[in-house]
Every structure is written in structure tokens, then in C-alpha cells.
């Protein structure tokens, strides 16, 4: 059984592994620097569907189906599925997975949902509640734009701090196995509100949460930044990453060489016009499933922290003048079981 350490940190028993994983992305993400890592790259934003919402659901289906076939599993092998996305009432997941007939637990952690769903799936697997559990998330640039910002064809200018919602989906199938990557420890994020009110500056809103969760994880597990090959944050983008570095620098800890941000990795920051970087549930999900997990599996990376970050806001609340709370869940991944 998993052991509760303190202050939101849980240590797993050992042997909880991401059995198989897959990333499905849009064309722009496929054209980015990680293009070769992904299992499926869509030719167009529509994915052959009539609405953006259906396109997002389809992307999530693809990620799940590919993860299943890569793990040589059938859908009846999955005991529970944890899924979430950015659309109102998590409909990207509900409609994408409705044909599966698998017990479904919908989650909302904004862009941190990949870490949240992976944490829940790992805890279920650790407790031997079911054989395999799936963690799935997705986001789609067009469905997010029309919900949170403006119509696609509207000629509004984005601010330099704005981030680009990734058209991407990731799926992890977690179970007890002897093959890496292993999920070792989990630190559940707290809601951290730094008072940022600008909905076009999510990096700033989330950097405080990332700092809080990562430092808490290190403190609770007695580890230092240097014990890890890399610390990946969800999607702080350029602005949030710079703030995170400064927050650690105040503690006299330099994380600049170890820290990587999924939002800065997914796109070519020079050539692709994404302003401060990528965002959306699918951003960290696709980088995790396409880039990070394969490297742990191959032994290239040994110990890694994956800290997906989310901004827990809605357009209504922000328009009412409220500040934007952030959250970040930390997953410690390793190529060793214990």
C-alpha cells in the first residue's frame, strides 16, 4: 500500500509502472522540435470532424487506442479510466471515451490534469484496485480559443505573455509491472494564488504553485534538486519559467540547468509563433508520453520530476475581477523500482 509521508506527499509501494503510453498531436505540434516523438500526428486541425470539440475528443480516442495497442492490451483490461480536459464540464473526455464502456472518473485540474490523472491512476494501481488504470487528457487550440478567448478568425492581437493551447493528447496506462518507467512518489498540489489577474499571463499565475509543489516534494522526500536528471514543469512558458528560476534563486538553489518546461519544448520558440510558449492539458501530456517516458524507459533518464501546472480559472470569474489560482501536482518518475 502507498504510504502517506506528510503535507500532500505519498510514497508508492514500488512496482507501479507506466505500462504503456501514447501521444497524439496536431499538425503544428508535429512540426515542432519533438515531432518525431509522437505516435500520431493529425494532418489538419479538424481531424475529419465537423466541430472542434469532436476533433479534440477524437484526438483523445486516438491517444487511448494507441496506448492500448502499444501495451498489447484490450479495453476490457482497463479497470478505471481517469480523464479530463479544458472544455466546459470536461466534455472532451466524456464524449471521447463514451463508447469504451470502462468505469470513468472525470477530473479537472486545468493544464495540470495529466499529473493529476496519472497520480490517481498510480494510487489505484498501487492499492491493487483493478489491474490497469488509464490516465488521459487532451486539449485543442481551436476548442480552447472559442471557449476562453475569441473566434479563430477574429483578428485580435495576442500579448507577448500569452501562451498557445496545444492541440494534443496523452494517455498513460498504469499497472503493477517490472518494467520502467516507475511512478515512485506523488505530491498533490495545493491551490496557490499569487494575485495575478491577467488571463493572458498564465505562466505568472502558475509559477508560484510549481515552486510550492516542487519545494514541498523535495522537503518531504529529503531530496535535493541535484538528485534528479531533470525537473519538467507543465506549461509555465517563458515568463513562468523565468519566475520559477528566480523563486528558487531566492533560496540559493539554481535549477536553470535541470529545469525544463513542456510549454517551451513542444514548439520551436524562434520559428513557431506561440508567444510565451505552449499550454493546455495536452501540452504536458504529449511531452510526457512522447518525450519523457520513452527516455526513462530506455535508461537515458534515471530520476525525473514531472510537475504539470494548471490555472484554475474561468472566464466568468476573471471578468469579475478575481485573481487566478494555480496548482501543480508533482510525480516522481524513475527507471528503478525502489
Amino acid at each position: 500500500m502507498a504510504k502517506y509521508v506528510t503535507d500532500g506527499t505519498v510514497e508508492l509501494n514500488g512496482g507501479v509502472s507506466v505500462h504503456s503510453f501514447a501521444a497524439a498531436v496536431g499538425k503544428m505540434e508535429g512540426d515542432g522540435p519533438l515531432g518525431d516523438c509522437f505516435d500520431y500526428i493529425a494532418k489538419g486541425a479538424e481531424l475529419g470532424e465537423k466541430t472542434w470539440e469532436k476533433a479534440e475528443s477524437k484526438l483523445q480516442q486516438y491517444a487511448f487506442d494507441i496506448a492500448l495497442s502499444k501495451g498489447h492490451l484490450i479495453k476490457d483490461d482497463i479497470s478505471f479510466i481517469f480523464a479530463g480536459d479544458l472544455l466546459n464540464q470536461c466534455t472532451g473526455s466524456a464524449y471521447g471515451l463514451r463508447e469504451l464502456n470502462i468505469p470513468f472518473i472525470g477530473l479537472y485540474g486545468a493544464c495540470s490534469t495529466m499529473a493529476e490523472s496519472l497520480a490517481m491512476a498510480s494510487l489505484f494501481a498501487d492499492g491493487k484496485i483493478g489491474e490497469f488504470c488509464a490516465a488521459v487528457t487532451s486539449s485543442h487550440f481551436c476548442s480552447a480559443e472559442r471557449q476562453f478567448r475569441f473566434p479563430i478568425n477574429y483578428g485580435g492581437v495576442r500579448t507577448p505573455t500569452a501562451q498557445w493551447t496545444a492541440t494534443a493528447s496523452g494517455c498513460c496506462i498504469v499497472g503493477c509491472a517490472e518494467q520502467p518507467p516507475f511512478v515512485r512518489k506523488i505530491t498533490i498540489g495545493k491551490i496557490v494564488d499569487m494575485g495575478v489577474k491577467d488571463a493572458n499571463n498564465m505562466g505568472s499565475a502558475m509559477a508560484g504553485a510549481a515552486y510550492d509543489s516542487i519545494t514541498r516534494h523535495l522537503r518531504n522526500t529529503g531530496k535535493a534538486v541535484t538528485d534528479f536528471d531533470a525537473i519538467y514543469t507543465g506549461d509555465l512558458g517563458q515568463v513562468g519559467s523565468d519566475i520559477l528560476h528566480e523563486l528558487f534563486a531566492r533560496d540559493k538553489v539554481n535549477i536553470e540547468n535541470i529545469h525544463k518546461d513542456c510549454g517551451l519544448m513542444l514548439y520551436d520558440m524562434e520559428k513557431q509563433d506561440v508567444h510565451a510558449g505552449g499550454s493546455g492539458c495536452g501540452c504536458s501530456a504529449s511531452v510526457l508520453c512522447g518525450h519523457i517516458l520513452p527516455r526513462i524507459k530506455s535508461g537515458e533518464l534515471h530520476n525525473v520530476l514531472f510537475a504539470a501546472t494548471g490555472a484554475l480559472m474561468s472566464t466568468t470569474i476573471v471578468q469579475q475581477g478575481e485573481s487566478i489560482p494555480g496548482i501543480s501536482h508533482v510525480i516522481e518518475l524513475s527507471d528503478k523500482c525502489i
Binding site: 465537423k50 466541430t51 472542434w52 472559442r146 475569441f150 473566434p151 479563430i152 478568425n153 477574429y154 483578428g155 485580435g156 492581437v157 500579448t159 507577448p160 505573455t161 496557490v192 499569487m194 494575485g195 495575478v196 499571463n201 505568472s204 509559477a207 508560484g208 515552486y211 510550492d212 517563458q238 515568463v239 523565468d242 519566475i243 528566480e246 523563486l247 531566492r250 533560496d251 509563433d273 510565451a276
Partner: protein, 148 residues
Amino acid sequence: MNISKQEYEQVAKKHAGSSKMYITIPKAFLIGGFICCIGEFFMNLYQYIGNDNEKSAAFTSITLVLISALLTGFGLYERIAKHGGAGTLVPITGFANAVVSPALEFKTEGYVLGTGAKMFVIAGPVIVYGIAAAFVYGIIYWIMGLFS
């Protein structure tokens, strides 16, 4: 947290880049100016073929709105607007884009609750406050007329 909200605001402000105004303002001026030149061209054309000033002005607006609506439909207006900024927002073409883009975007929710209801979601406030400002201006103009 090792930082107060006030200090965090300062740190966040320091790292948030601002627009490069030495590039964006000249670009807005040139692209906005170019749209006005196109307007002038049509104005002269309509006058040349025998319309009076008032009619030519109306025809010019209609033509610019039509061009903007077509460019929006083909997904080209937002590409120009990305560089044009206020230069594409302020002329009547920007207004047309603000009406046509939600009309197209929300077509998936039906012609009544989608296109019909959402068409003025961006341009609506401009119309509301435009009319309100005109009303206030009218009252002031009327009061001034009483004393002259």
C-alpha cells in the same frame, strides 16, 4: 512561499515582456494607412463613375466591409491583423471582422443560438457604447444650441 504577493507582482512584472512598440506602431500605421488608401481608391472610383459624395462614401464602406468579410471567411484577415494590430482593428474592416468571425465560429451551435446569438458578442459593446455616446453628445449639442 518565500515571497509576498507584492514582491511576486514585481518579479512577475520584470519577466513579462512587453510589445516591441518600435515595430508594432509603424506596422499598424502602414497597414492601417494602406486600408485607408484602398478606401480612398474606391471613393474616387465611385465618384468618377458619377455618384455624389454621400453615395460614394456609403458604397466605399459597403465595399470595405464586403472585402473584410470575405477575407475573414477565408481565414486571411486574422493573418493580416496579426501584423496590423490597431491598424486593422480601427477601420471599418475591423468591425466587419468582429461581426463575421463569431458568426462563422458559432455556426456549429445552429443559426439561431449560434450565429444569431453570438454574432455581436465582440462588436456588441462597440454598438452599445457608440449609441450611448451619441446620445450624450446629442444632449450636450442640444443644450449648447439653447444658449447660442
